[in-house]
């Protein structure tokens, strides 16, 4: 299996994750979408030195992965390419922000270190939450939920089609590299002399297939609405899930729960 094919399989496997069954999978997409958005919003809004307050936000992704029966490992594995980037965002903070904000025994910790860690946590938490949504909700369901929120058709269609076309493009690359290697044994990669035609063919072919697929959707009555993905209604459980989590997020943001809990025991 070549690299592109692997990437393709991984994207397709996302669909399989979303097709699994669990209490979270059964919830209405709209509820999950809103909870995710609220989560990201609240997480990002923590101040850059509020590491202890932020810590408690991990509750949501951890609970989510437990309930949806998806191992957290999958998330980190699939996001292994973007994770380092997210982690690197605050990497220079310790150099710029040297003011000491905290001492642990004899070690003094600068504001830069704290803010770096906070940023890192924010990034990782938000990634975990977004992945949870995508892994428990199919792309069609997400688009349907967005439509319920009156997001314009053009945007939801764009989202859906981008998702489809990415896998289509990867599939084309994978097919073409395979056929190339079958007739060019022993070559590593694709020879420079073939790059031009390879790329040109790739673009033409993917465009052709993309058009054909879109036509095929139109032929079966697609006009930018996702009726077919709307079978999961806002049940009592969905409402409860949404209200409880969003309520908790607000509590976690308003009060520094770890500190309060800590002070109970001092």
């Amino acid at each position: 299996m070549n690299k592109t094919e692997k990437a393709l399989r991984e994207i397709q496997a996302m669909g399989e994750l979303a097709a699994m069954d669990s209490p979270i999978h059964r919830l209405a997409p709209l509820a999950k979408l809103l909870v995710t958005v609220a989560y990201i919003f609240v997480t990002v809004s923590f101040s850059k030195y509020d590491m202890t307050g932020l810590l408690i936000m991990i509750l949501y992704p951890v609970a989510g992965y437990q309930l949806s029966l998806i191992p957290v490992y999958t998330c980190f594995y699939k996001l292994r390419i973007v994770l380092p980037l997210v982690c690197a965002v605050g990497i220079f903070n310790p150099f710029f922000d040297r003011g000491i904000v905290m001492t642990l025994g004899t070690v003094s910790i600068s504001g830069g270190v704290i803010s770096m860690l906070t940023l890192l946590m924010k990034g990782v938490f938000c990634l975990m939450a977004s992945f949870l949504l995508v892994a428990t909700t199919s792309i069609e369901e997400i688009c349907h939920a967005l439509r319920q929120l009156h997001v314009p058709k053009i945007l939801t269609s764009l989202l859906l089609l981008t998702w489809r076309y990415v896998s289509l493009l990867l599939e084309q690359v994978s097919i073409m590299t395979q056929s190339y290697h079958l007739r060019a044994p022993g070559q590593k990669g694709i020879h420079v002399s073939a790059w031009g035609s390879f790329l040109g063919q790739l673009i033409l072919r993917s465009m052709d297939r993309a058009a054909a697929l879109y036509e095929s959707m139109e032929l079966r009555g697609f006009h930018g609405d996702f009726y077919y993905a709307g079978q999961k209604k806002m049940t009592a459980a969905s409402w409860l899930y949404m209200v409880v989590w969003i309520g908790l997020f607000i509590l976690m943001r308003a009060y520094n729960l770890p500190q309060i809990l800590g002070s109970l025991f001092v």
Binding site: Q12, S138, E215, M217, L219, G221, D225, Y228, Q231
Partner: protein, 249 residues
């Protein structure tokens, strides 16, 4: 009443190279028509024209409505189209979701649609594929599933582009049975002339964008000279083919 009517339809992908050359013919409601012709004769193109997927000159009417942008939705609901390439036909993650897509989009309730999908799968003997992922199907399974997605829409007319390619003998037989049980108007483009003999009353022979012959299936498909003139051969069952086995020499 005419289900499909072509009036002087002309089309070319690239100028000079006429693919549909002043075509005129009509197909009555309930007729079963085989569309035959050598590779590149224009069969697939003719089907695309009927659905408004290419812009041609002339007029095409489907179920009394002219094929033009404001009627596309109605025309496409009337005619189900099985594409020559099943990979382009299926776009949802699983067979079931793909099959439910059309009916639900055309306003059927989820429950009804699910029932219809089950029924169609049973009729095609495909129940075991229901929850399979599309990209994990074999070539022939994909073909059967693609045909099922269109059958599930229960269109008034069906356009099928090479429905029997990639099918094993048993699935091909099943397809023929399903087609014969289905009373709707059908236009079947294929190189499988035996299938035409078993499913169609009438045959249109296309060559170089023109209708070279139009008549009863039994007559045209028996006319060896006519077929050979248009780069085709007699159907196996009529040719009395005596295959010379390599191992016998």
């Amino acid at each position: 009443m005419d289900m499909i009517c072509f009036e002087d339809v002309t089309f070319a992908y690239e100028k000079e190279n006429m693919v549909l050359d002043h075509l005129s013919f009509s197909i009555k409601e309930g007729e079963q028509v085989g569309l035959i012709g050598a590779n590149g004769a224009g069969k697939s193109t003719l089907m695309k024209a009927m659905l408004g997927l290419i812009s041609y000159e002339g007029h095409i009417y489907v179920d009394g409505q002219e094929v033009k942008p404001q009627n596309y939705a109605a025309v496409r609901k009337t005619l189900g189209y099985v594409l020559q390439d099943s990979d382009n036909q299926m776009f949802m993650p699983t067979v079931f979701e793909d099959m439910i897509f059309g009916p639900v989009n055309y306003g059927m309730s989820r429950e009804e649609a699910e029932e219809r999908v089950e029924e169609t799968l049973a009729r095609m003997g495909l129940l075991h594929l229901k929850n399979r992922h599309n990209y994990k199907l074999s070539g022939g399974e994909k073909r059967m599933a693609a045909i099922a997605t269109i059958l599930a829409m229960e269109p008034k007319g069906m356009l099928m582009d090479e429905p029997s390619t990639a099918l094993d003998p048993r699935n091909r037989r099943r397809l023929i049975e399903v087609l014969n049980e289905l009373p709707v108007t059908k236009l079947i483009a294929t190189h499988d002339l035996d299938l035409v003999l078993e499913t169609c009353d009438r045959v249109l022979l296309l060559d170089d964008g023109k209708i070279a012959a139009d008549g009863a299936a039994g007559e045209i498909l028996r006319d060896k000279e006519l077929l050979e003139r248009h780069n085709l051969e007699l159907p196996f069952c009529l040719a009395g083919v005596r295959v010379k086995l390599r191992s016998d020499t």
